[in-house]
């Protein structure tokens, strides 16, 4: 374990930025935080988390896949990708780090998504333990320990210092480069910090939320639950929850004719959108209820069924904070799951 004084944090950033693009949460003028590229003078945000999750780094909201040039009846496929730079994401919370595992299982399963994979290969994640979780946090429900974030390097912040521990080779290599700015230390301070976090975690309002009612194999039990009608009744069908969600990974592939060729790009899509499943045969999720149900069934039943029980939610609380009508996975879990206790 290595540590450094928070006074020197900008030196650390500068050192990292020498060899890689460094991204970290930065305050925006609207009062929220967003990941921004670090440049001399960029201040690290104190906010608990960013509005948009860091999934953007590996699975950008839009990315060009290729370009087509057509001439008469002929087509040429042009690879428009430029060589990827190494990059470091700093200050990723435990929940968001976990979301990468969830995305990995989708994009790195066969057939591997090469666009995602190469971004993943070039990225180093420096996670950061939470100090002041919010009332909307429920990562514990998904067995995520905000005091023990994973990632290539884990970091803990105290009043005056920041501690680092490498978890992977990539992380160790990066930490090595920071050796002149950090000093070796024991984990006493970190342990103390962890205890503090755990004490807070026990006070969180959503601490008792459980996944007991969910998981693989529950499809038939939950799919026809009558509660879906009421839960989805107010849903506007916007994409806020899916776009702020760190684990939502639905996408669309579209063509854009630039006038000088056709760019085929991939962009985020949302299962909440009415024409999401509109395909050749028609649309098999015609009502907002069906689409709403799909999103939560996917996170809580289908995904775990296909991924060894792993839920596709990390309890980051973004959808709780951002849904225009305040409908969210917690309300769904309590309503749908709750009746089992009765």
């Amino acid at each position: 374990m290595r540590k450094c004084s928070l006074d020197k944090i900008n030196l650390i950033f500068a050192e990292i930025a020498k060899n890689a693009e460094l991204y970290l949460p930065v305050d925006q003028n609207d009062g929220s935080a967003a990941y921004k590229k670090w440049e001399e003078g960029t201040a690290w945000s104190n906010k608990l988390n960013t509005v948009k999750s860091p999934k953007d780094f590996f699975f950008p909201q839009t990315e060009d896949l290729m370009q087509f040039k057509t001439q008469g009846k002929n087509i040429e496929i042009v690879d428009t990708r430029s060589a990827l730079q190494d990059f470091v994401i700093f200050g990723v919370r435990a929940c968001d780090v976990k979301s990468f595992d969830i995305l990995d299982r989708v994009f790195l399963s066969e057939p591997v998504d090469s666009f995602y994979a190469s971004r993943r290969k070039h990225g180093v994640i420096i996670s950061l333990a939470c100090t002041r979780p919010s009332e909307t946090c429920f990562c514990k429900t998904f067995d995520i320990d905000p005091a023990n974030p994973t990632g290539d390097i884990s970091a803990w912040k105290t009043e005056s210092e920041i501690f680092f521990a490498a978890n992977t080779e990539k992380g160790a290599a990066l930490l090595d480069k920071l050796s002149s700015l950090t000093e070796e230390c024991d984990d006493a301070a970190v342990l103390e910090q962890k205890e503090k976090i755990n004490a807070i975690m026990d006070k969180l309002p959503l601490k008792n939320l459980t996944t007991d009612a969910f998981g693989g194999g529950k499809t038939n039990e939950l799919f026809n639950a009558p509660e879906w009608d009421e839960l989805s009744s107010a849903c506007l069908g916007c994409g806020t929850c899916t776009f702020v969600c760190p684990t939502c990974q639905c996408y669309d592939i579209k063509d854009f004719n630039t006038g000088n060729g056709v760019v085929r790009f991939r962009c985020w899509d949302s299962c909440m959108y009415s024409d999401f499943t509109k395909m050749a045969h028609g649309n098999n999720r015609l009502t907002q209820k069906e689409r709403f149900r799909q999103r939560f069934m996917h996170k809580l039943v289908y995904y775990p069924e296909n991924n060894d029980g792993l839920f596709s939610c990390v309890g980051c609380g973004r959808c709780l904070a951002k849904c225009p009508i305040s409908m969210n996975i917690v309300k769904v879990m309590k309503k749908i799951g709750g009746k089992k206790d009765e």
Binding site: K52, P133, A234, C238, G239, T240, W268, K322, P324
Partner: protein
């Protein structure tokens, strides 16, 4: 602090349900926390008693729900409308988006709704409870032993700070006292932007709109956006896109959206309320409203049913497009 209480509303709604005036109630449903209320349809008195909530966070404008919900009920649906919501209600009626006969409107007074992000900006994360206390709001958080007392006026939502009217322009029944149209300062911010240089304005909007994630929340919450198929969702429209690939598409979406609701937008502020990225979208709509007022005379969409919106109207004496800039300069 709202003048009308939850219990008054529940009792009124229960009465109307019980005497058969309405068959269901569109109201606010209790959430996990004190601030995350969800629009909910209540079918029985029991449901109302258990789940109905009314507090400083009941900001959602129910008018738009009537487009889908009114037709689904067998009888009438009871909707509770704040003064600003009634303008949207009238505008939707003007556009024939639902059947007036299917709706029973109870106008409720509003003292302004709170914006939870403003509360969080003062009190920080970890809010466990929020309660009204006269002109103050008491906030209990994870991190403070004693409740933090804040002035309710300090956390009023932007649209309520600049409230344009406390008068209900449509209702079947009114609870509490009728208010009046207010001389608000809602155009001050627009005027401030107009006074900037073009470069500054460009930088301002570039910064704001670059945060857009195209979640469509603004559009989907907007009571003026009730198109059966939005042009931005229609592959045949030529402008369909699902995510803003670049700054052009961000602008395109917001310009066209604001243009499409120009003259129809009642300035209810839902777009800015729901924006997860806190983009001040109301400033786009208000620009159109301000322009329309200045160019063609004061016009408040939704003031009455059946008004002809300014952009589908004309006089032979209208100013020329080239003249708008000179006027802009005058105002600067």
């Amino acid at each position: 602090m709202q003048k009308i209480t939850r219990d008054q509303l529940v009792s009124k709604a229960s009465e109307l349900l019980s005497n058969g005036t309405v068959c269901c109630v569109l109201g606010w449903g209790m959430g996990e926390f004190d601030y995350d209320v969800t629009p909910t349809v209540f079918n029985t008195v029991e449901e109302l008693n258990n789940g109905f909530v009314f507090n400083d966070f009941c900001g959602a404008n129910f008018s738009k729900y009537l487009v889908s919900k009114a037709a689904k009920c067998d009888g009438k649906i009871l909707v509770l409308l704040k003064p600003c919501d009634t303008y949207s209600f009238n505008q939707l009626l003007t556009e024939h988006r639902f059947d007036r006969e299917k709706v029973y409107v109870v106008g409720i007074p509003c003292e302004g709704m709170a914006d939870v992000s403003k509360v969080k900006a003062i009190c920080g994360e970890g809010i466990l409870a929020i309660s009204s206390n006269g002109d103050n709001i008491n906030v209990t958080t994870l991190y403070d032993e004693n409740p933090i007392v804040i002035n309710a006026a300090d956390v009023l939502a932007e649209r309520c700070v600049n409230c344009k009217s406390k008068k209900h322009v449509a209702y079947d029944e009114l609870l509490g006292d009728e208010g009046e149209v207010i001389e608000s300062n809602r155009f001050d911010e627009v005027a401030r932007l107009e006074a900037m240089s073009a470069d500054e304005r460009f930088a301002f909007w570039q910064n704001e709109l670059s945060r857009c994630i195209r979640c469509n929340a603004c559009r989907d919450a907007c009571p003026a956006c009730t198109c059966e198929k939005c042009v931005f969702d229609n592959p045949n429209s030529g402008v369909e896109n699902k995510s803003p690939a670049n700054s052009f598409e961000e602008k395109l979406f917001h310009i066209i959206r604001a243009y499409h609701v120009a003259g129809r937008c009642t300035d209810c502020g839902e777009c800015s309320r729901v924006c997860p990225q806190n983009i001040p979208l109301h400033l786009l709509n208000r620009k159109f409203i301000k322009d329309i007022n200045e160019f063609y005379g004061d016009y408040q969409a939704g003031e009455e049913v059946g008004m002809r919106a300014p952009l589908v109207n004309y006089t032979t004496e209208d100013l020329e497009p080239g003249e708008v800039f000179d006027r802009g300069a005058d105002n600067a």
